[in-house]
Structures are given as C-alpha cells and as structure tokens.
Symmetry: C3
Subunit: 247 residues, 3 copies
C-alpha cells in the first residue's frame, strides 16, 4: 500500500480534530477510500471520516488493509508538515510500521508502530431526519463560541424561517438566530429543538477548517449529525448524542 | 433604556481594563452619559469612566438608571464582539436583566442578570495639582514596562525640562527620561517626585488603547491622576494612591 | 569602557540563547572583541561567543576588562530593546555596575550590578575533526524538531553524499536526509555517526536567528561543534558532548 497526497491538510486537519476525541483508531483502506469510523470513550460522539482515492495523486492499494495506530502520535507527526510538502503513507507489514514521508525542501521520514486494536465493527446508526440546515461553518462556529460564554449546553431550535442557538447559564443567557437567506438553507416540516454539549460541539466545529459549508441535521431529543465535505475528496461527519433535558 | 454604539470598542476596552481592577460595578445612566465610578478592593485606585451620549447612535434614557452587574461577566460577553458589529444595551426591568445585542453578519443576544449592589456613593476626591504632563501614551507604557523589569515601584519625577521614570531593584535599576518637546508638554512650578506601584500602573496604562495621548498629574507623595480622552465620546481617568517612601 | 552597537540584536540574540544554558558569566573585553566562554552546569555544552570590535560603531576599551553579570538579568533587560534602538554598554567601576543605555524614540538606562564570579579559566578543548557540513540553519532546525517528535536523542550520521539525522522512540522513529547540493556542503573521509541530546540541540539551533548558515563538525562518539558566524561581526559556537551509545 502506498498513498500520496499533494494537499496533506486533507489528512492533517481531520487527524488533529479526531485526536481530540479518540485515542487509538483503525484506518480501513480499500480501492475507493481511506476511512476511519470511531467513537469517543464516553460514547457521546461517533466520527466517520472518508478520504476518497480521488484526493490522492498516487493511490496503490492491493487488498483492503486495516491499519491501527495511536492517533495522538500520528497527529504530532503530521503537525510537522510544512506548506509545500507532499505526504506519502506506506505500509511496511514486515516491520509492522506505517512509513510517513514528507517531501518538500527536504525529505523527512517517520516510521510509526502499528498497534493491536480489537476489531469491534463500528456500526453507524441509521438515523432519519426531517430537518436540515446548510449554512456557513464560520457562523456556526461563532454562534457556539458565543453561547459557550454563558452555558455548558446549547439548544438548537429550528422553524421554517430560522435556526436558533441558545444557552442558559446561571448569570446570563445567550441566543443567536440564523435566518433563512442566501447563506443559510433551511428545510423542516415542524419546529424542532434539542440540547447538546457545548464542550463536544466546540471540538466538532473545528471541521470548518476543511469546508466553508456545514450540514446540520437533527430532531427533538435526537442525535445531531454534522457534516463537512470537500467535493470528490473528503467527508467528515459527526453524530452527537443529545443531552437529557433536565440538566 | 436603549443605547446603541457603532464603535463598540469604546465600551469594550474600558470594561476590559476595569474588569482587571474591580469585580462588581454600578453603571449610572442619565441623559448625558453612562458613568462608572469604582474603587478597587484594596482601595489603591479609583476609576472614573464616562461614555457620553454623543458617542451613541441611539440614546434613549427615560429617567436616570443604576445598573449593577458583574464586570467579569460583561467583559467575557463583550470579548465576543467582532470588527463590524454594532452593540446595543437595553434594560429589561421586569426580568431584571441587561439585554446585550451584537449585530453584524449575524445577530447575537446575551441577557445578563443584574445584581444587588450596595449603593455606596463613591465620592471622587478633590485633588489639586500644580504639575501636568501631556504625552504619548505608548511612550509612558514602554517606560513603565522598562522599569517593571527591575523594580516593583516606580518614582515619577518632574522638572521644567523633563519627566523622569525610575525604578530601583535588588540587582539593577532603570530610568527613562522624557524631554519636553513636540510630543511631551510639561507644566510645573517646582520639581516634584512621588512613588507608585508598578503592578497597578501596568493595568492603568492599558488605557493607551483608547487614546494616543495621556494626561498625568501628580505631586510629592500625593495621588497620581491619569487620564485618557476621546473627544466628545469618552473620558477614562484613574486616581492612584502614592506608595509610602520607605519601601 | 564604552561600547555602542547599532545592531543590538547581535548581542540580544546570543544573550537570549546563552541565558537558557548558563546563569552567571564573565564577559572579557579587550581591544579586539567582547568574549564569553562558559560551560553549562551539567558540563554537557561549552559556549564560545565573540562579538568583534568591528561590529560596534563606538568601541573604547582602555585595558582588558572582565565583567561578571547575571545573564538572566541581562537577558530581561535586552528584551526591552526596540527595533530602531542603538545600545551602549558602559562600565561604572566606582558603582560596580554595567550601564546599559537604549536610545531610540526615547532614552532608557539600566544599571546592572556586577557580581563576583570565581575566575576559573575556561579552557576550550582542542578538537580535531575530519568531517564538516555547512548547510542551511533552518533545515537543521527543522530536522532536529522533526526528530524531537519521536525521540530524546538524535544520531547524526554522515557519508560522502548525505547527512542523516535519526531518532528512535518507543512508538516510532524518524529520519531526515540532507543531500550534498548547492545548499549543503559535505566534507568527510569516512562514514561517521554519533548521538547527541535533542534537548540541548533544540537550544543550540536557535543560533539560526543570527545566520542562515551553520557549520557542523563531529566524529564517532566525539563532541559536536556547531558554529554560527556573521562575517566581521560575530561568531557563536557550541561544543556539545556526545551521548553514550547504550541509552
């Protein structure tokens, strides 16, 4: 297996975001994509990350491979990438290592030990949503940060005209409204509202580094699905459990 | 009561500076101005902040109001202001809250609980000075920071030709001289000298963010008055107690 | 003694680097240069710093002088230098102080106490090297930082065609190769390899702030000599002990 990326940030940014949520992960690599499906230790959020073969300038995969590594170590290594580097990943089965090469002004190679990871097949839950918002990822990021000033959980509300982001703290409350307009597409049949952890959301909205647009889907007291896409290259999605209402 | 500011930094910067000195404060709002008069818990510095009605684009005040809040909470909220936001403050007497709205690319609203604060009328002491320096606020800031490298208190000296800023530490001493010139106006009858806490001065000189000019007035072993002005908009002044000489 | 520098960074940067390695030092000043020779408390690295008289715009030295000071205090003072300042150093023997003046927009003076320091003559060891690399200091800095991600010591290897920088950690290893080319001159008779502490190297490579080029000389299990030069102005060199192989 040998994979080469001309835009290493397509791997670097997702790994940085994921390393804040999970420790050890398995990459599954087949002819179409490199994929990570993982759940955080507290079982609050599931991450599904796909990097499509079309994102690579070199994509040689014999059979499907499962590569288990420490995400924290991989993240530390990928942080050493410089602006004009290309990144290649090569599996060295004999030595049980992942060979990571960065080439730019100089050539640097890291060999990361593979680890044993129990192969618990992560089943992505089947969710059905009747409400969907597509909006500017920076605006969602700001709204979550705003509400984070006063509260620990956020209520996401939606009606046909606007999305409402609210938080209630001991000393103050905050709310932000995003109206339906050219930046914000809204589809919903009913008014919905549900509560989520701000601590987690702050980690997930870092996906805005990958894409200007974010897709949000949710329902009353139901998981939130958050998705960032780079067309023909990657999809990073999160499924976040709701918080119970009596907090 | 409803007040709207097109330049929110006129409130944001003073609140940031004040929140480093005092915790809870009362805003007094009448037809002419919004005013805070407060003393730090150690009684070393008094702050007088006035934001004139002419600084606002909307200024509706029925009768005089006293609004008591946690300055720390207000500061955290105002830090969320973005470059092109307008800021409005509205008093919701029924809910006992101050409604703070930021409008720019999106509209965000914070409702901050009012608090109970004993109404101890702060009497601004009557001080009479015979010496005055008007100079560049950045130069004063640098001089205080320079002296802060070696000492914990600073002596401010003045004669007809120059202002002297000196500090004495265990291992070294430092002094900076500001000569009378186009940047530095000096008025004094006698030579004067007095000592002040550098720790406090470092907090007060942050007023340089509001105005390029600072006015300093002091006398021998007498309080220092430091003032920053934005004409027709705001005045931020501090009265700092001297340090006793035998330190 | 009075010395004036128009480019104060020629003193500021070396003092900043040295203050991270040694505490108290003696400057020796004679007609040709200002010099510091010092060893870190653990005896792992020796520093030799020379600032030539030709680097100064004013250089008055009566007889040779030895000036002992706390490097940490000097560093704190020099950090207050601003972009367009000139820096002058004057010895006040009566008061037993070093007078440090910074002149730019304003004039600031620091008087730093001299200290007593036992005059242990530092003998610079005579080393003989048969291998030498002259390369880009930024590339060496990056390589050391890269290897520092995975390991605590680094092996520096050299053959006629390339320099190899390698580190071995518990979970991964890293290596960087610098090939002989227009950026990298290599002279060696044999293949050599030796191990050094990354913790120390990270401090020494900060010398790259002074010069784009670094000279490295070493041999098998032998000290490493690292040198940064600014022609006709300064030379900053380090002699770093090797690490024993069984770590």
């Amino acid at each position: 297996m040998k994979l080469t990326l001309a835009e290493p940030r397509l791997l670097k940014e997702p790994v940085s975001i994921l390393s804040d949520l999970v420790n050890d992960v398995s990459f599954k690599v087949d002819n179409e994509k490199l994929e990570i499906v993982a759940t955080d230790p507290a079982n609050v959020v599931m991450v599904v990350f796909k990097l499509l073969s079309s994102a690579f300038i070199e994509y040689e995969v014999g059979s499907s491979e499962v590569i288990s590594i420490s995400l924290d170590n991989l993240n530390q290594i990928l942080r050493r990438l410089k602006g004009n580097d290309t990144l290649s990943l090569e599996l060295d089965k004999e030595k049980n290592k992942l060979k990571i090469n960065m080439s730019g002004d100089s050539s640097r190679t890291f060999n990361l030990n593979l680890i044993e990871l129990e192969d618990k097949d992560q089943n992505i839950p089947e969710l059905s949503f009747k409400s969907k918002v597509v909006t500017n990822s920076k605006m969602i990021e700001d709204a979550i940060e705003d509400v984070g000033i006063v509260a620990e959980s956020v209520s996401l509300g939606l009606d046909k005209e606007k999305m409402m982001i609210r938080g209630e703290g001991n000393l103050s409350n905050a709310h932000v409204e995003l109206n339906k307009n050219e930046d914000t597409e809204i589809e919903t049949e009913n008014e919905i509202i549900s509560k989520y952890s701000i601590e987690y959301l702050k980690k997930l909205i870092r996906g805005g580094k990958l894409s200007d647009k974010v897709v949000l889907e949710w329902a009353d007291d139901y998981p939130l699905r958050l998705e960032y896409n780079v067309i023909d290259k990657l999809a990073l999605s999160f499924i976040l459990a709701p918080r119970v209402s009596d907090e």
